[in-house]
Amino acid sequence: MAIGTEFKPTILGFLCNWCCYGGADLCGVSRFQYPPYLRVIRLMCSGRVDLEFIFRAFAKGADGVFIGGCHLNDCHYNPEGNYDALGNTLIAKKILEHVGVNPERLRLEWVSAGEGIRFAEVMNDFSMKVKNLGPFGSSEGIDIAELQSRLDATIQLVPYIKLVERERLRVPVWTDEGYRKFFGSDEFNELFNELILDKLIMSRIMGFLRVKPVSAGEISESLGLDPSEVARHLHDLAQQGLIWFDESQTLVAAA
């Protein structure tokens, strides 16, 4: 690849002040080198990373998103915010996968303020991974505008996800293993499909309809959904009064 066309990804990093940001500082002080792709946003705690931050970053074209917190049980704060970061990341990965974004583009790592070398290692590794995936959308094989519209639909859903997360997706055990087990379980998958995925599809349909009235067939084709699925969702949306059908019952529009 010629130098001029070399792909240099942009990775957005959310670093907690106490550990990972300190680790990144120590990495600098120690002069450990890593590729110049990372753009850092300092937050006090990785638990402050809102789902919306992640989706917004991708919607704006980030090639990768990095979240760095304290090691589990080492959080500077009493409520152990890094468990929130872990839960959010696992949910976000799941959603990203469903909207067609390679979940590998999102990475969560624990780096302590004393681990300068580890920060460099993590950055070197993640930078290469993202670089190999290519620009946002390329490894996905999906048009960027399409990905963005899906992400916008997802962002609309964030308040709802937060509610669902609180009510139904409580992780029983506070360990890394417990979190990963829960988020990988059938129980979670079922809840996820039932509670979030359906809403996500509806949100995408709504996003589509806000542009112009279309037929159910077009929705099914454009969103790559089974026609019977589309019919089910349209029925629900109509019941909630969010959409209406034209007189001939062929076109659907946002209410």
Binding site: G28, S30, R56
Partner: protein, 1027 residues
């Protein structure tokens, strides 16, 4: 502060009482600065006296600091500004002490203020005089490697930032010039100045005069001063530095060319029993040499570096890894050999070094030779000591109390820093805080009587104004400027929305720059400030303070980290680094425009302290606090106080540890303000700085202790070896067990014919990659003790590097003179120990390769003593979790900053000391315990502590009363309250810690964390991706 001296001078004409302070700190290096700051913060008025034209000391001359390679000036200069802005510190530079009268609590110090020939009040530091001055003199700050003018500012971050006139000035010599007088627009030049006598009354004195580097000219055996390309390590430090003689280019003196082959020679002036040399080890040279090698290789990757060394003494925290890092660099060779300087090659001016190799003596040519010179006492130490009426020790450093290394021989006069003996920066800082604690103890009844609070100008309300952002880009010498194209970054900043001003500076944190930023804010009407420099983790407080000085809210500040996160980590890609720096500034400006003014508020401070761990460290800290009237809870997991010291019987210097320990324990047990809780387990810790609640379980009783500060002094354990038959054969023991046997007069041991000591058991290896620091000295201590009771005993020490740093070196030599035999082994070829029955005799056979003889030796020993590693104490992880403080990769507690905050944690209100931080000797532990107490005093002496304004708030109208925020907050900062629109969440800002978890949980966007709102973060995200 410039006015202070004038006021002082004026006052000195009047009644003596006008010049009264609490403490005088003599010596304005890092140690003196820290002592002054701690004392001033703890409610004492301090005079900081320095003989050179500025505070800063030797640390200001260093380029970087080991083992993190932090930029020395960058971490020190914020302290200059802190001193300068601290209303309770009067800085008196170019001033020396003439005499001291009186007694502890009531000293009268007479000072001589040398004439600078500059009116400090009028001088603005503009340097016009320097420009016009025709006389060039060697620049002392640059080790005379470059020239400066006869009138100049000592260095660009100097405090006070005013010129001084050197004796080489033509006017001072024969009244021929005086150009400076004509060009100075402020009439600041005053050739009529004469030395001025000033009297100051203080209650205590802290001596921190520092050290002198060894002058190799004295012995003349290394060609220094005769061969141009032989420099000292301090010279080389300046050569490395961006503010050095060649702007950070390493150029050798003879032809100003880059040297490609550089040699370092260790132990120059140290570990030498020769006239003009020093017998002791200077303790810092091994590590600083490694630092210089790493940095030199960073400047020139192709450079060949050869280090001629004796033992490598990497005995400090993270030093071992630092050594490995230097050693692994390509083109770097460490050679263990004594050397002599050969000759200077006439044409090239290269210098040859002769050294021993396996094939005989070799002579090799180098472009540049760096002498790793040791540390001497201050040049005028004898006279200095006489003035203060304190005694010196045999090495010419200050004599101290064996059980209190901070006390001199004169009551009321304390000591901090390298005048105690060679030591590195963190130890100097620790002893400064310790001297602060002891001075405070002496003067406890005077606390707060003479001090005043700092006053800021009224804050301008700019909330209705459009955002006007100023961008200040720091070159950080060459740290940023060498990689990032700073002018183009400034130019780019000007194109960004809301930016009305952008400029660059060499050091944004220099006193004059900080002042200039403050002026620019006012002059240009800025209401948001972005400084593109280093990390906010160290420098944000300084710049926020600068905003307050300028009369705008301190939260209108954002820091763009273009050093740690850019220039330092992308040093091979300047173009990409510049592009990234532009992105970083763009993000910062976008965020800055959205910043809101925030109010900080005061929280009450509970005056009690909790000390975890009842060993010498914990007891000393507890006693220091209790003696000053602060109620202290001392929590110990065992059933008695004493900790590891219960197993130590004597120190290498001969202190009876058990007698000392019993005294200390008795004092602690009897102290009315110390509550000792033994058999204790801490089960829970909540709260925050000034207001902790710790649940302690002891003997079936559970109680909640409320305290404002906590000191972690949980000590360390001795490693239980699995090597060398330990545990299988009773004749194999650890050094501690050996000491117990010696002290108990064990007959078998004392009458045995031979003893083998094996060093580095369980550390300096992959799973414990650190040096346990104390074992080499402990081995010498026990060897000498045994030799004193049984001179006939054969004692062998099998070692890797003898690390008897500092004055312990003398005991190593003594042991060697008493015929203790030393055999070095390599880690890949460790000694073997086997139990042997032969000819009716039972003994331990130790087999070891002798590197000198080049063959295997078999030593028949009656006993084997293992230098078992010092390992983190068993409960460290639990303690770390409870107090929310970090551990280092080796499992010891991790201080807030390796160099400058050695007994603080990053979490406010929690401090550490003793072997919990890293293995250390008893005297070092005591010193650190005083230091930790001193730091805790800076908190406990206040009634309130300021809490960040970055807390959460609720937009009640958006609140849907779901309670998500409440479950996220374990600080109990959120509750529901009744409103006309039903129950709504409410935040108690006093309890909010600003983590923002609730913000991330709130589904309706009602909760927001101030200073990190969604909107502010969105702006950063969008700006990051708008490039």
């Amino acid at each position: 502060m410039a006015n202070a001296q004038k006021q002082l001078a004026q006052r000195s004409q009047g009644p003596v009482a006008g010049n009264a302070g609490d403490v005088m700190v003599v010596g304005g290096g890092i140690s003196g600065i820290q002592a002054a700051l701690d004392l001033a913060t703890a409610g004492f008025k301090v005079y900081l006296v320095e003989k050179t034209p500025t505070i800063g000391g030797k640390m200001a001359q260093l380029d970087k600091t080991f083992p993190t390679n932090d930029c020395s000036m960058c971490i020190e200069s914020p302290k200059f500004i802190e001193c300068d802005r601290q209303p309770n510190i009067e800085i008196m530079t170019y001033t020396e002490v003439a005499s001291v009268e009186g007694t502890a609590g009531d000293f009268k110090v007479t000072l001589t203020k040398k004439p600078r020939y500059i009116d400090e009040d009028k001088c603005t530091g503009c340097t016009t005089c320097t420009e016009y001055c025709p006389v060039k003199i060697p620049d002392p700050f640059n080790q005379n490697l470059s020239l400066n003018k006869a009138v100049h500012i000592y260095f660009s971050q100097a405090v006070p930032l005013v010129s001084y006139i050197d004796d080489d000035c033509l006017f001072l010599k024969d009244k021929t010039c005086a150009i400076c007088e004509n060009v100075c627009e402020n009439d600041a030049i005053d050739f009529n100045q004469t030395a001025e006598k000033i009297e100051v009354k203080v209650g205590a004195i802290v001596l921190s005069p520092g050290y002198e580097t060894f002058d190799p000219r004295v012995r003349g055996d290394y060609g220094y001063g005769t061969f141009q390309n032989v420099v000292t390590s301090l010279d080389f430090e300046r050569l490395l530095c961006a503010t050095g003689p060649h702007e950070g280019q390493i150029l050798r003196p003879s032809d100003k060319k880059h040297p490609h082959k550089v040699a370092w020679i260790h132990c120059v002036g140290s570990r030498q029993v020769v006239p003009g040399g020093n017998s002791y080890c200077s303790a810092v040279c091994c590590s600083y040499t490694q630092k210089q090698v790493i940095l030199a290789k960073d400047h020139d990757a192709d450079m060949q570096a050869t280090i001629f060394h004796n033992d490598i003494r990497s005995y400090g925290k993270d030093f071992e890894r630092f050594y490995q890092r230097a050693e692994k660099l390509p083109g770097v060779e460490f050679i263990r050999s004594y050397v002599s300087i050969g000759r200077e090659i006439p044409d090239s001016k290269n210098v040859t070094i002769r050294y021993a190799t396996a094939d005989g003596v070799k002579e090799e040519e180098f472009d540049l030779v760096v002498l790793s010179v040791g540390l001497n006492p201050p040049a005028d130490a004898k006279e200095f000591a006489k003035k203060f009426g304190v005694e010196l020790g045999p090495q010419g450093f200050c004599k101290t109390n064996p059980v209190n290394p901070i006390e001199t021989t004169r009551p009321g006069i304390f000591i901090s820093g390298a005048f105690q003996g060679p030591r590195d920066i963190p130890e100097s800082v620790v002893s400064a805080s310790a001297a602060g604690a002891l001075s405070a103890q002496l003067l406890k009844s005077r606390r707060g009587k003479l001090t005043q609070d700092r006053v800021y100008p009224a804050e301008k309300d700019v909330t209705q104004d459009e955002a006007k952002v100023g961008v200040f880009v720091c070159r950080c010498g060459a740290n940023i400027g060498r990689i990032v194209d700073v002018p183009s970054l400034v130019e780019y900043s000007r194109t960004l929305g809301n930016v009305v001003h952008a400029e660059e500076s060499l050091f944004a944190c220099a006193t004059n720059t900080a002042q200039a930023i403050s002026d620019t804010i006012r002059d240009k009407g800025l209401n948001r400030v972005v400084v593109a420099a280093c990390t906010p983790r160290t420098h944000e407080p300084l710049f926020r303070d600068t905003l307050r000085e300028a009369g705008i809210n301190q939260y209108f500040f954002d820091m763009a980290n273009v050093r740690e996160h850019c220039s330092w980590v992308h040093s091979k890609e300047p173009e990409d680094a510049t592009r990234k720096a532009k992105d970083i500034v763009r993000m910062s400006v976008a965020r800055a425009a959205k910043l809101e003014p925030l109010e900080e508020f005061s929280l009450p401070v509970n005056k009690a302290a909790l000390v975890v761990g009842g060993g010498v460290a914990g007891m000393t800290s507890a006693l220091t606090l209790a003696e000053q009237g602060f109620e202290t809870y001392l929590v110990e997991k065992a059933s008695d106080l004493g900790g590891m010291a219960r197993r130590i019987h004597y120190t290498i210097e001969g202190l009876d540890v058990q007698a000392y320990l019993n005294d200390l324990k008795t004092t602690v047990y009897r102290h009315p303000l110390i509550h000792v809780i033994t058999d204790a387990t801490i089960t829970h810790v909540t709260g925050y700085v000034g207001n902790f609640v710790t649940t302690v379980k002891s003997k079936g009783r559970v109680r909640d202790i409320k305290h404002g500060a906590a000191i972690i002094a949980t000590g360390a354990d001795e490693y239980k070896p699995s090597e060398y038959l330990y545990g299988d054969d009773a004749r194999v023991m650890t050094q501690l067990e050996l000491e117990e046997q010696i002290s108990a007069g064990d007959e078998r041991l004392i009458n045995s014919q031979s003893l083998v000591m094996i060093q580095c058991v369980g550390c300096r290896q992959e799973d414990r990659n650190y040096c346990s620091r104390i074992c080499c000295s402990a081995a010498m201590k026990n060897a000498l003790k045994l030799k004193s009771v049984n001179a006939q005993m054969d004692i062998y020490v099998l070692f890797r590097d003898m690390r008897t740093y500092g004055f312990s070196e003398d005991y190593y030599r003594e042991a060697s003179n008493k015929d203790v035999k030393f055999i070095r082994y390599e880690p890949h070829d460790k000694p073997q120990v086997e139990a042997v029955e032969e000819d009716g005799r039972s003994f331990l056979r130790v087999t070891v390769s002798d590197p000198v003889l080049g063959k295997k030796l078999a030593l028949d020993a009656d006993s084997v003593a293992l230098a078992a590693a010092v390992i983190p104490s068993a409960g460290s992880e639990e303690t770390a979790r409870l107090f929310k403080v970090p551990l280092s990769p080796d499992g010891f507690f991790q201080e807030a900053h390796v160099k400058l905050r050695p007994v603080d944690f990053a979490a406010e209100g929690v401090y550490l000391c003793g072997t919990a931080q890293y293995p250390k000797h008893l005297s070092e532990t005591i010193s650190q315990a005083y230091g930790a107490a001193g730091r805790a005093l800076t908190l406990l002496s206040h009634d309130t502590v300021v809490a960040s304004g970055s807390v959460c708030e609720i937009n009640e109208r958006a609140c849907v009363s779901c309670g998500a925020c409440m479950t996220a907050c374990t600080y109990g900062a959120i509750d529901f309250h009744d409103t006309p629109r039903g129950k709504k969440a409410r935040i108690n800002p006093v309890l909010c810690k600003g983590d923002g978890l609730c913000n991330a949980k709130c589904p309706s966007g009602a909760v927001f964390l101030k200073h990190y709102t969604n909107d502010q973060v969105f702006r950063q995200i969008d700006a990051a991706l708008a490039g």
